[in-house]
């Protein structure tokens, strides 16, 4: 299973499914990461975490642990 965490910088992926529960999951969805959304990984923070992604035309910072909840293809 591939998750957003595995996507390289500059690559684009499509969201298939969201794992997890509660606040984190809902927050991810509220920010526009839903099934079928195109997500581009823009960069990794200098210390290796979090990552910056581009979704629905804006920039979002998300921790790798949380990115691992987002299944992509």
């Amino acid at each position: 299973m591939k998750t957003l965490k595995d996507i390289q910088c500059g690559q684009t992926a499509r969201v298939v499914k969201l794992e997890g529960a509660g606040a984190v999951r809902r927050r991810i969805m509220d920010m526009g990461i839903t099934r079928g959304t195109q997500v581009m990984v823009r960069k990794v923070a200098p210390l290796g975490d979090p990552i910056e992604i581009s979704v629905r035309g804006y920039s979002l910072s998300i921790r790798k642990n949380d990115a691992a909840l987002i299944e992509v293809e």
């Binding site: 809902r26 927050r27 509220d30 526009g32 099934r35 200098p46």
Partner: protein, 718 residues
């Protein structure tokens, strides 16, 4: 007839700027998500009967963050007449997500699309008429910053009061069927105009709904089995599907992934290699300006000039306020005690408050610029990895950095942290870092006991950092802090050039709130300390005393000096010195000087080194040092903590925690030090071992983040 308009929108949508433009009220606008945590109200310009309520900036009406719960409770409980929904035009898709939720509340609404000039500059186009008919409510293009279109939007909002609410967004036929079954069950439970909102929330299994609501779990299970998705996802997907259908034909984007100016800045600023050096340079300037140079000049001028002997202005000598008052009091032949009360109590107290203000204004100005331009969000992005391990935010870096200069602006700088838990934790731990006023204590102990050893000063900073890390890990696992989920899914807003008026407004508001909220505490405690050190019982009965050792304060010190015996310094002089340290930490040295019979001592107290060396063992001296570094800070910093915690309970908890932590750490240092150096073993050693074991347990126990938000009672709905 009075009308209430709720201003709702995402963080960074220009909501606060619009609020300022509509009301003229003083309020800050930043570029940091969630800067408006408090509810703010204002009267619409030119309409004395129209109130505008500025809701916290939120992305959704979910039950998971405090701001969201506050916003929806207001919308449901106090039902404003109109919702003015501000939308960032450059980010229509995500901004409309909140709109789809606001449309379900049964309240008339209009959209104000902000930042249209940037949309056009990007080469995108937007058909607002089509947007208006698709959403079903009026849409206005505004520029909050330039004040364009605001008046028309406001007039329209006023005229909407009492009209029909927009139709809720239409979901797929299947979902609508489920919702209509739930709506039928809601009959008689909630007002009819809120049927839709409650139906959706019940379907989503929202845990913040209260009251006697019907059970709908059978419908949810049915829907989830059919779609193979959970109810929350079903609704979120429906909303974004609705938005996609609305935007089709409304918005034309040139290129979805084209690099904007902001992106280009970010390519450098948060670049993997350059980010940290740039961060270091920015932090250097913040520290250099607010602590080393401008801040210190301002503080010195305020403390030694304005509230000291005086200062020179263009070659003219201007006497300080105390000098002027002293002259006036002497001319009036006032009694000695009254003169002392006014000068050493009140004027010194007011001086202590105001002395911090110039430096604070410099710092607040810099923070406002960092927030407004968007760099503050990047700081969190860059530093998150380090700080989140001990329950702090990447933005905790600035308070701690400033804290090495002075804890008071350090604590005040925690305002920029938007997450409640991170902010409280930062406030509690910032003063562990040795501030410049603690340096004389370090110099005293290093010189008197350790022969000026080089390692004493660095070790003090190490102890401070260790205290922050240990406290962070321990506290985040306690029930008080683990209760709140803190997802770090954060918007990185586009860079903006900050406007002068917004930055100055922010600087002034924060400075003023320090004077107002922290000032009282600082003033009262200064007067208290003045009274207890100048009055006491002598052979002649109660009255003013010349010698500090006769004063009430010394009595108090003698009264609980025994408490500090396990720490190795159970004599009353040390206890009194520690208490006067609460006025200002550098007083510890001066107090020792007085108590050992010197009228005045050098900053490092070199005159009393010999007496101290005789009175202290090495572990006891280090324990005294550590206790004074970590325990409750000076009154000014306490005032700042009170201001930022905004709760007496949390203030006492913070101060209590700091003091207990300092006590236990000092206990361990003295007991283990004595054990290893002198082989002394006793009851205290056993206590220290127990403390150490307890500490290790608290550090190592498992941590589990909560999934639901525990709201304070004041936020819960009736």
């Amino acid at each position: 007839m009075s009308i209430k308009i709720a201003l709702a929108g995402n963080p960074n949508s220009g909501k606060t700027t619009l609020f300022n433009a509509l009301t003229g009220a003083n309020q800050f606008v930043g570029n940091w998500p969630g800067v408006t945590v408090e509810k703010k109200e204002g009267r619409l310009k030119g309409h004395s009967d129209v109130t505008i309520v500025d809701l916290p900036g939120v992305y959704s009406l979910s039950p998971y963050t405090l701001e969201e719960v506050v916003a929806r409770n207001f919308l449901l409980g106090e039902t404003p007449d109109v919702i003015l929904n501000i939308i960032d035009g450059t980010n229509l898709e995500r901004n409309l997500y909140l709109t789809t939720q606001l449309m379900e509340l049964g309240i008339p609404m209009l959209l104000a699309v902000n930042m249209m000039d940037i949309v056009e500059k990007n080469g995108d186009s937007m058909d607002l008429k089509k947007l208006s008919s698709a959403i079903g409510c009026p849409v206005f293009a505004v520029s909050a910053l330039k004040g364009r279109g605001i008046k028309q939007a406001a007039e329209k909002a006023v005229s909407l009061a009492g009209t029909a609410a927009p139709k809720p967004p239409a979901f797929s036929a299947q979902t609508e069927t489920y919702l209509s079954v739930i709506k039928e069950r809601l009959q008689g439970h909630v007002p009819p105009q809120q049927f839709r909102f409650y139906a959706v929330k019940l379907f989503e299994r929202d845990d913040k709904l209260t009251g006697n609501l019907p059970n709908v779990s059978d419908i949810i299970t049915k829907a989830e089995e059919k779609t193979k998705e959970d109810a929350e996802s079903i609704i979120t997907n429906e909303r974004y599907d609705f938005i996609t259908s609305v935007l089709r034909g409304t918005v034309k984007k040139k290129n979805r992934y084209a690099l904007s100016v902001s992106d280009r800045i970010d390519r450098v600023v948060t670049n993997r290699i350059l980010a940290l050096p740039i961060f270091a340079v920015v932090m250097f300037f913040v520290y250099f300006l607010s602590v080393t140079t401008v801040g210190t000049w301002a503080t010195d001028w305020a403390n030694d000039g304005l509230f000291g002997d005086g200062f020179s202005l263009l070659g003219l000598w201007v006497p300080g306020i105390p000098v002027l008052i002293e002259n006036a009091l002497t001319a009036m032949h006032t009694a000695d005690w009254l003169q002392s009360l006014i000068l050493d109590g009140i004027v010194a107290g007011v001086g202590a408050v105001l002395g911090f203000v110039p430096q604070m204004l410099v710092l607040f100005l810099l923070l406002a610029i960092l927030e407004a331009c968007g760099y503050m969000a990047r700081i969190a992005f860059i530093m998150d990895r380090i700080f989140r391990r001990f329950g702090l935010s990447g933005k905790s870096f600035i308070p701690m950095l400033i804290g090495t200069g002075c804890g008071v602006p350090g604590v005040m700088a925690s305002r920029t942290i938007e997450n409640d838990r991170d902010r409280k934790m930062t406030i509690m731990t910032t003063t562990f870092i040795p501030c410049s006023a603690k340096l004389p204590i370090i110099a005293l102990i290093a010189g008197a006991i350790f022969g000026g050893a080089w390692w004493v000063a660095p070790s003090a900073y190490f102890v401070g950092i260790a205290a922050i890390v240990i406290s962070g890990i321990i506290l985040k696992k306690t029930r008080m802090f683990s209760g709140d989920p803190a997802p770090f899914v954060m918007e990185l807003p586009a860079y903006h050039i900050p406007t002068v008026s917004n930055v100055l407004r922010s600087m002034w508001e924060r400075g003023w709130s320090f004077i107002k909220k922290a000032g009282t505490i600082i003033l009262l405690s200064t007067i208290f300390i003045w009274f207890t050190s100048n009055f006491g019982f002598t052979e002649d009965g109660f009255g003013m005393v010349d010698d500090l050792s006769d004063g009430l304060l010394s009595m108090i010190g003698r009264g609980f000096a025994w408490l500090f015996a396990p720490l190795g310094w159970g004599d009353w002089k040390s206890a009194v010195a520690a208490i006067t340290g609460l006025v200002a930490k550098e007083n510890v040295v001066g107090t020792f000087g007085i108590l050992y019979g010197f009228a005045e001592v050098a900053e490092d107290g070199s005159e009393i080194w010999q007496s101290l060396a005789a009175a202290y063992s090495a572990p006891a001296a280090y324990s005294f040092l550590v206790f004074n570094l970590l325990c409750a800070p000076c009154f000014a910093a306490m005032g700042a903590i009170r201001r930022e915690m905004n709760s007496a309970r949390w203030t006492w908890f913070a101060l209590g925690y700091q003091t207990v932590f300092a006590y236990l750490t000092a206990l361990c240092i003295n007991q283990f030090g004595s054990l290893f150096l002198y082989g002394s073993f006793g009851f205290g050693t056993v206590a220290a071992i127990l403390v150490l074991a307890g500490g290790i347990y608290l550090l190592c126990r498992p941590y589990r983040q909560s999934q639901t938000l525990h709201t304070p009672r004041s936020v819960q709905r009736i």
